[in-house]
Amino acid sequence: MSTATLEPRVKAPRNYLNAEYGWKSWLFTLDHKRIALLYMISITVFFIIGGTFAALMRIQLVEPQGALVQPETYNKLFTLHGVVMIFFFLIPSIPAVLGNFLVPLMVGARDLAFPKLNLLSWYIYIVGGIFTLYAAIAGGVDTGWTFYTPYSSTYSNTQVTAVAVGVFITGFSSILTGLNFIVTIHKMRAPGLTWFRLPLFIWAMYATSLIMILGTPVLAITVFLLALEHLFHVGIFSPALGGDPLLFQHLFWFYSHPAVYIMILPAMGVVSEIIACFSRKRIFGYKIVCFSSVAIAVLGFLVWGHHMFVTGQSVYAGLIFSLLSFLVAIPSAIKVFNWTSTLYKGSISYEAPMLYALGFIGLFTMGGLTGLFLASLATDVHLNGTYFIVAHFHYIMVGGAVMGYLGGMHFWWPKISGRKYPNGWAALAAVIIFVGFNLTFFPQFIMGYLGMPRRYAFYPSEFQVLNVMSTAGASILGVGYLIPLIYFIWSMRYGPVAESNPWGATGLEWQTPSPPPTENFAEIPVVTQEAYAYSAEEAEGHV
């Protein structure tokens, strides 16, 4: 794919991008593909905001006494970094961008079941985001994204209510998106598209949506009660007023643990699609991977207490949560083995999407295995509240979920934009991100075991070397993220025009032009093959 030549400007055929022009056609669109792009731009903005907070944090931690800001400010930085990244970047990312764009295409439908709800979801997300940005500007929040009481309800004098309202509102965006996906997947599959012929990305979206609709409402009621306590000083969570601070933690983690599966399952779905395409083989053990996704969603609701092993909760509760937390690791392990086995006797090529997918497998394996240290009661006692936790969840959420998102963007970019991007730069960015990421977060495992607690604006000097390494890594990581931003924008005007199926992938989304027409398909396709029909016999229609 040569990137030096500029394609001659020919008038593109009618597609969803050029069907209508003008801001109204975008802000009042009901087309799932345009809504996906609205989300794409918004989450990118929030990623930059959240990333800026992270950069400031890492600069602060270069010096043991703190290099940049007062502790009060640092506390606001890490709180907003968490809130913005989790609620406004990670949770929407793959579902709201790639899911919205691809779910109707992959099931052979013309749109999602409820297009107006879909647009409403985006507006709700934006309103929630505005509340949170207001909170950030009007003084910030310093409670940590976990809002533990009674600090958040009775002691903090920062914008707790505003952020609680912002998170409450944004939760509905998640709920409506999940609802839309479940109904679409159940009711709008093309003829011949049975459940076990669905792409694994759809199974992943389905499992994610189950968590979204069952878990998010509990977060809603939790922040609602928190806001009421903050405003009216009633004692639900505050012991001084007769309440129970652990009740808050139980309610909060009942959502927030499944939430991490909302963040990782979609990335796993993306990885399945990419591995299959770039090895030209059906994912090994397809059905088992389907069941694993649903198993992760279900088991994910049963383990929340592992965030509370050192709170003084009963040792028996600890035992049960520990056991279940180990069990939830098994389906994820199975998936890693299945992906790896897919490569066996495949025909492997290394374009950028594949590099991201392989990077995901490596980093998710490491991050997931470090979860065992935390499911294990005796070691969690030592590691809880330290940088080990920070390293663990960043391995999964950045090394896992963000790599999955970027891999997905690189895989489906030709379909979404109708353009190709320069693979050389993409591969380079992938490597820079991989290296920068590991340099940023691996030292934090060591810091954590040595005992450096998290959320510290300054620290004892013996931890400085590791902190400086981490900051150095973060600068490299930042550069790595910038590069795709540049060439994706560049490609929209100067990239080579993409054909319908530039990667030779299976899946209904590749059977329609790039970019697709507004109605997705001229005629609704009829499906006669299993998913990932890459083999010679299947490709020729003999199977």
Partner: protein
């Protein structure tokens, strides 16, 4: 043993066993990471696409293989779970005869009170080789008492007591960190645990400022606040007698029976109507806000001493 630069001092009786489990976990992580990375690298090279039209044969799956790689990780995590849980269980209850120290956390300092009356701020002196039980509460928000060298931590909650124990096995000064975010100077809520030879510790106890013992302070508070007006020792007052109460079962008006521990004593002071002793009316006022957490701990120590006294009296009565 200060073995590797990647771990803190092993300064408590459990540090070594926790580290052993940690090494095992690290080994498993390393093993599987290297395994997956190498297999992927190997496959990437061996099965790289050699011609643009290559179409590999379909491989559906292999049930025996799936079973194998489900069973093996399950067995490995089962081993980890059992190992870790038994370690955790062993360390859950403090050994009999542990020395007790009372700790209060508040934004942003640690206060420790030895039963003999010594008070410390941001420091905790303990003797080598003796199990120490910390009974802790917070005056405001949630904190966490973390000593990396001992491999122990426990959240410190407002409104209740939590406890943890350790036995220091190495002399020296070790970091004490607050490990639960608690506001602006969370990072500054740090201190030291100082482990001394038992003789040196005794000397330190005697040498430091002669405070009143916690029991004596509690007795003073008991009389200053008029507790004895209702809690008459023959049980005929408005409130039950406190002789021999501590550590024994209490029968409540709602039919329940519970053991009178630190938590119950504290709750009876700050939230008296929550549990009423059978045969008495709910007329005790709450002392929440009137007594600091440290004063409540002094009262708890005093009520404990009443329990021991009654025990002694019973023994003597039997003789």
């Amino acid at each position: 043993m200060q073995a590797l630069p990647f771990q803190p001092d092993q300064a408590s009786s459990i540090a070594r066993s926790v580290d052993h489990l940690y090494y095992f976990l690290t080994l498993i992580t390393l093993f599987f990471t290297v395994l997956i990375f190498s297999i992927i690298f190997y496959f990437m090279i061996k099965y790289r696409r050699r011609s643009p039209n290559e179409r590999p044969k379909a491989i559906e799956g292999n049930v025996p293989l799936e079973v194998l790689w489900t069973a093996i990780p399950t067995m490995i995590v089962a081993v980890i779970f059992v190992w870790s849980a038994s370690l955790y269980f062993q360390n859950a209850e403090p050994p009999q005869g542990s020395m007790e120290i009372f700790v209060t956390g508040k934004q942003w300092m640690w206060k420790a009170e030895h039963p003999e009356g010594q008070r410390e701020i941001n420091e905790l002196h303990v003797p080598l080789g003796r199990p120490v039980k910390l009974t802790m509460t917070s005056e405001d928000v949630i904190h966490d008492f973390f000593v990396p060298a001992f491999r122990v931590k426990k959240d410190v909650l407002p409104g209740r007591y939590t406890s943890m124990w350790f036995e220091a096995t190495k002399l020296g000064t070790f970091h004490l960190f607050c490990a639960q975010y608690c506001g602006a100077y969370h990072a500054g809520m740090i201190g030291s645990v100082i482990v001394m030879e038992p003789d040196d510790y005794e000397r330190w106890l005697e040498g430091s400022e002669q405070g009143v013992t916690m029991e004596a302070a509690g007795e003073k508070l008991f009389s200053e606040n008029g507790c004895g007006n209702c809690h008459v020792s023959d049980g005929k007052g408005q409130g039950p007698s406190l002789l021999g109460v501590y550590g024994n079962p209490v029968h409540l008006s709602n039919g329940q029976t519970l053991n009178a521990d630190d938590v119950y004593i504290r709750e009876s002071i700050v939230s008296p109507t929550a549990k009423i002793v059978a045969g008495y009316k709910p007329v005790m006022p709450s002392f929440q806000g009137q007594l600091s957490e440290e004063q409540i701990m002094d009262l708890v120590a005093y009520v404990r001493s009443l329990g021991k006294q009654a025990g002694k009296q019973q023994e003597e009565g039997k003789k």
